[in-house]
């Protein structure tokens, strides 16, 4: 397609590769930065509204302009959301569910990623008869609305004796995380040269040792992507957490739901927003720390299909 005889100034890192900018204030640059700034405004607006609202008192909110910064800053809503907001009789805010969420999150993320990465590995290097069919069904699974599966899963967990336990919930997260994660891992692993795999086999390495010693160390970026996706999905999950466990295991989103969704009484928007931001802190933190790895990981995970 393209004549590749031009001497290549080879670069291997994931740096920008577009046409090089010429002058600092060219029309092109104005257009690029203009576009980015306008979109940034769109993305930032809700965050601004959330943060500003969470710092206002209710009287100020009722009068006012939701975009204006608070006249009088108060951290009351944050305190209330974290430790005072009521869920029925229990008035200890989001703090009640925080550790439950962590307790659910860690095993669910680990197990779902281990299973999906092994799936992707098997689907790439150890294809068996019908493996493509299973993969297609998995992708189909990505489209099934969760609500539809509520009852079948209740029956399944009941028969397995896992209903209401932490491990039942971990299993559910593993199952529903599987389609997209397997797709990502499969795509990533298929970018790894097959020669590498063949050489390892000639050396006598088996299924697990190739996975652990060769693939895992090469695949940090895609693991980061998987972790980000799972942390976000599992942390934000409300439906599974509340349907498949019992109150002493309810995740933080149950309290968030109770604070935000309280259909009766006065809506305390400031507390809602503070609760929202507090609940979002864990995934947000992960995004801020690993944003760069995220792009790099996706670069490898999504490029080859």
């Amino acid at each position: 397609m393209v004549d590749a005889t031009i001497p290549a100034n080879t670069r291997t890192d994931a740096e920008p590769r577009g046409a090089k900018p010429k002058r600092a204030l060219s029309g092109r640059n104005i257009m690029i930065y203009g576009t980015l700034l306008v979109f940034s405004l769109y993305y930032l607006l809700p965050l601004w509204v959330m943060v500003m609202t969470s710092l206002k008192g209710m009287p100020e909110i009722r009068m006012g302009n939701i975009f204006a910064p608070p006249v009088e800053i108060t951290f009351e809503p944050w305190v209330k959301a974290w430790s005072q907001a009521c869920t029925g009789l229990n008035c200890d805010g989001l703090s009640r569910g925080f550790w439950n969420s962590v307790q659910i999150l860690i095993p669910s993320v680990i197990l779902s990623i281990v299973v999906a990465s092994v799936n992707g590995y098997a689907l790439t290097f150890w294809k068996f008869k019908g493996s493509d069919i299973f993969f297609t069904i998995l992708i189909f699974g990505a489209f099934i609305p969760y609500q539809v599966m509520l009852y079948p899963i209740v029956i399944l967990l009941r028969e397995m004796g896992l209903y209401g336990s932490l491990w039942g919930l971990v299993l559910v997260h593993t199952i529903f995380g599987m389609p997209i994660l397997t797709l990502l891992f499969r795509n990533y692993f298929s970018t790894i040269p097959e020669e590498l795999f063949k050489a390892a086999r000639v050396d006598g390495a088996g299924f697990w040792s190739i996975y652990a010693k060769i693939l895992m160390p090469m695949s940090l970026p895609i693991f980061v992507v998987a972790i980000i996706l799972q942390v976000t999905g599992i942390w934000n999950d409300f439906l599974f957490g509340v349907v498949y466990t019992k109150p002493d295991l309810y995740p933080m989103t149950v309290q968030l739901n109770n604070i935000v969704n309280s259909v009766q009484g006065v809506k305390e928007y400031n507390v809602n927003m503070a609760a929202t931001l507090l609940t979002g802190l864990v995934p947000l933190f992960i995004y801020f720390v690993s944003g760069k790895l995220f792009v790099r990981g996706i670069a490898a995970g999504a490029v080859k299909g």
Partner: protein
């Protein structure tokens, strides 16, 4: 750890001499607003004081969020100790499947048959002659709440009934008010429709349609008149854009809207805002036309459990819920009406007293929740919200409504 913390938090104020016999009972419900939580606390305190331990399992978002969770828990074989349902047909199949505890012996020992009033509340708990739930309150949806301030602003007298209210609509609108506040959620449109039905068509038609399920009456001219009346209401509510019912109540409360059709629970909002019935707001049961109230309400069901200790505790709670002291304490906080006729609610406010009068006079109609399946109710909600928010012709809505009812015969 968590359970322990929860338990200590709950019983911190209660001395526990009988701790050795205390049984933990997890109770799920969807009462999470301020007034509701205060009412639940009355139940929990009474239960704890009697020596057991109430483990609270509140889930916000209303029954539609909470019910799937409750049903999953029960069918999943990990049931809670007790759970709220609106009584009637919601839990019927769970009872039929043998998943609910039979409370007949408690009911007989406590004499529920003689005390629960109106008796229809207990009938709704009865399947094949056995009693499966303990009713805790009555809710009547057919109230018109009016803002005295909005009418003062517009220089109009406060209407005394629905007809006057409709007539005053254009003038209110000219004064910059929303005549009728109505939340966008589907159930609120359906509630308004039912309230208008009772008020405009009267008790006989209501009973023929909802109790005898006479489809000729449902398709007849009386109901056609109701649909025309609802069409009028639609015009009055055209500028109302709020979502939740309490946001709509808030419009009435601060004089931006003339009135709202909402259940008796709306007065909790007026009370919290420090408004006084009669001077700040006016309440008209049965929309001021036909002072009839339909009686639905909340009840507690007790899923079958393996442990005998739990079963004993379940029965203790059931007896407690219906007891006079708990009824008074709970319903005063909740703003709802008690389920027994033999107690005195001195502390009740004016609107609540109006409700009690209607109750005492026996002008009661069974609620739609009890006579129609949730499936029919949901279809009607879908229909009414569409009718209120679109230009659908009343005749079309009427026809659709009849066929919705027919699907539940």
């Amino acid at each position: 750890m968590k359970t322990f913390k929860l338990a200590t938090a709950l019983v911190a104020s209660v001395a526990l001499p009988a701790a050795a016999f205390a049984t933990d009972l997890e109770v799920t419900h969807w009462w999470t607003s301020g007034g509701e939580a205060a009412a639940v606390a009355e139940l929990a305190n009474a239960f704890n004081a009697a020596g057991d331990n109430w483990v609270d399992g509140a889930i916000a978002g209303g029954g539609s969020t909470a019910r799937p969770i409750m049903i999953s828990r029960i069918t999943g074989g990990d049931p809670m100790g007790a759970t709220q349902f609106n009584h009637g047909q919601q839990a019927l199949e769970l009872v039929e499947a043998g998943l609910m505890l039979d409370l007949t012996d408690v009911a007989e020992a406590e004499g529920w048959k003689d005390k629960v009033f109106p008796p229809s509340l207990l009938d709704a708990c009865t399947v094949d002659g056995r009693i499966y739930c303990a009713p805790v309150n009555i809710h009547s949806p057919e109230w018109l709440w009016l803002s005295n301030q909005a009418y003062a602003d517009a220089g109009l007298p406060v209407p005394a009934n629905w007809t006057e209210f409709v007539a005053s609509g254009p003038q209110l609108e000219a004064a910059g008010k929303i005549p009728l506040a109505l939340g966008n959620q589907a159930w609120q449109s359906n509630l308004a429709f039912n309230a208008i039905t009772v008020a405009v068509a009267g008790l006989d038609v209501w009973k023929q349609v909802n109790v005898d399920k006479n489809m000729d009456v449902a398709a007849g001219p009386e109901m056609a008149a109701v649909f025309t009346a609802v069409g009028d209401a639609r015009k009055l509510a055209a500028n109302s854009t709020v979502q939740d019912w309490n946001q709509a109540t808030n419009l009435v409360l601060n004089g931006q809207a003339g009135g709202q059709i909402m259940g008796d629970w709306a007065q909790g909002e007026f009370q919290v805002a420090g408004k006084v019935a009669g001077t700040d707001y006016t309440c008209l049961p049965g929309l001021g036309l036909n002072a009839y109230l339909s009686t639905g309400g909340d009840a507690f069901y007790f899923p079958k459990n393996r442990s005998a200790d739990v079963e004993a505790a379940q029965k203790r709670l059931a007896a407690l819920l219906v007891s006079p002291e708990v009824q008074v304490a709970f319903n005063l906080k909740k703003g709802s009406l008690p389920i027994r006729g033999d107690i005195d609610l001195e502390a009740a406010n004016d609107c609540m007293k109006k409700g009690l009068e209607v109750l005492a006079s026996g002008n009661l109609v069974p609620s739609g929740d009890m006579s129609w399946s949730p499936d029919v109710v949901k279809q009607n909600e879908d229909l009414m919200v569409e009718f209120f928010k679109s230009g659908m012709a009343p005749e079309t809505a009427h026809q659709q409504w009849v066929s919705n009812l027919e699907s539940g015969l």
